[in-house]
Amino acid sequence: MGSFAYFPHTEEDIRVMLERIGVKSLDDLYSDVPEEFIFKGEYELPVARSEEEVRAWFKALADKNTELKVFAGAGAYDHYTPSVIPYITSRSEFLTAYTPYQCEISQGTLRYIFEWQTMICSLTGLDVANASMYDGPTAAAEAMRMCVACTRKRNTVVASSGLLPNVLATLRTYARYSGINLVETWEVQEAVAEGTLDLAGVIVPSINKYGIIESHLGLADLVHEMGGLLVEYCDPSALAVVKSPAEWGADIAVGDGQSLGIPLCYGGPYVGFMACREQWMRKLPGRIVGQTADAEGHRAFVLTLQAREQHIRREKATSNICSNESLMALWCTVYLSLMGPEGMRKVNELCYAGSHYLHDQLLATGKFSDPFEGREFLKEFALQPLCDVKKLQQALLDAGFFGALETEEGFVTFCVTERRTRDEIDSLVKVVKEAAL
């Protein structure tokens, strides 16, 4: 004992183990499997290849990818990743560490989670944040369950139809298997004001799926009057400049951390965040790191309020989540510490300028109309196409652009981040202008 060598079992190890349990061969371990289910043929596995060959094979696969200029958003945003981030997060202390079971021995891990929580609280304006969730949509689903847990016998959650489709789909799945009555509507205020629901909570987007910055004036008061909690789904990057969930009176804020410098990466891994008012912290799922002092009076970090967690009260816990998306939370923490409030503001200003320029240029082509004229947007917007959408998308693809995502209602959306240059925007507009659509 005491050695941690990574050796596979030897023939001798296997022989001794089989002898000990009184079995003749490894195949005998499967004797309970009915004969007709046992595969008898030869496995169609390719012959072993050298490292060189494997590299070449994967490179050929990778070369099939086309690098497009991203003018799409829909919840995943092509923001710049400062090059220092992967260097820090790939340090072995961070990269190879699994969730620490003897938590307090890992002060470094607890420290950065504490920093992440602090930054999420700064962005949302709320009091308490957890150590992170799997992604934005599952964080929204956890918030839905939290509404029901906080209001005890109430069971209806109203979700705005303006939430992203993947968020709504995840809410539907969780609602179905938790027995929650999920009501989806564009008319959130009206649905709540009717007062006929056993309202546990309301989930609205800070910025909706068309990129429009929503106004939630009076909503929090109304929801509270009806006995529910208000949840806001937010883009954390945009929170640097738009009104925060706390300012709107929300009880819980959730969203996806991807916009905080995580590359698109073909869809993941991303990270969810979740914060709430102190009043509800005992129903907040997941881990929470707290600050304390050690025996010698030094600043130290601990896991706190663990009575909420499922390893203590499985059937009473708000959620069965007992882990977090720690490495990606670290990624966002490093990003935010590099950017600072000024950097975050600058990113948003560049997004705003670029997206409004593209918006005006696209309208000027005469191939779109503006269904949301006068509504404020930040980096993403929706237009009504007056041309064939399939042809439009193909023309953009052929020219190396990814944009004009079609929504279920037949609009097309575009997004401009700080990475898109004036030249790139002009070339995209030129393609739209000149293509026979």
Partner: protein
């Protein structure tokens, strides 16, 4: 040896009841608070909530455990001891002074199922 007070009624889940004019004043026994250790949070119901005998109405959290509170009687919560929100340690200091909820009973016959001090002292040790 934990303290048990004569004249109160006790449940098997270590709650005590004092009856005052059809109102059941409910707390946890000295034995329960000692078993829990330093209590850090009392999860209280709301006034007006309905409780059922034998069913959960809240929870105690301590530095080492979390434990549900079960109502010894059925009825309506008429008052909760909101002092415990900010000062849960009062349960440790004097479990019989730190009442948790007051319930207007819907069926006083349920009291018959509870133990007196002598009977409770047999299980609380």
């Amino acid at each position: 040896m934990s303290k048990i007070i004569e004249g109160l009624l006790y449940s098997e889940s270590h709650e005590w009841v004092k009856v005052e004019d059809g109102i059941a004043v409910i707390g946890v026994s000295d034995y329960a608070q000692a078993e829990m250790g330093d209590i850090t949070y009392v999860d209280l119901p709301s006034e007006g909530d309905e409780v059922q005998a034998g069913e959960e109405f809240g929870a105690l959290e301590s530095v080492k455990a979390s434990s549900e509170l079960y109502s010894p009687v059925s009825g309506t919560v008429v008052e909760v001891n909101s002092e415990l929100e900010a000062a849960p340690e009062k349960v440790n200091e004097d479990a019989y002074a730190a009442w948790i909820i007051k319930v207007r009973m819907s069926d006083e016959a349920e009291l018959d199922a509870l133990m007196d001090a002598a009977a409770y002292s047999a299980i609380a040790k």
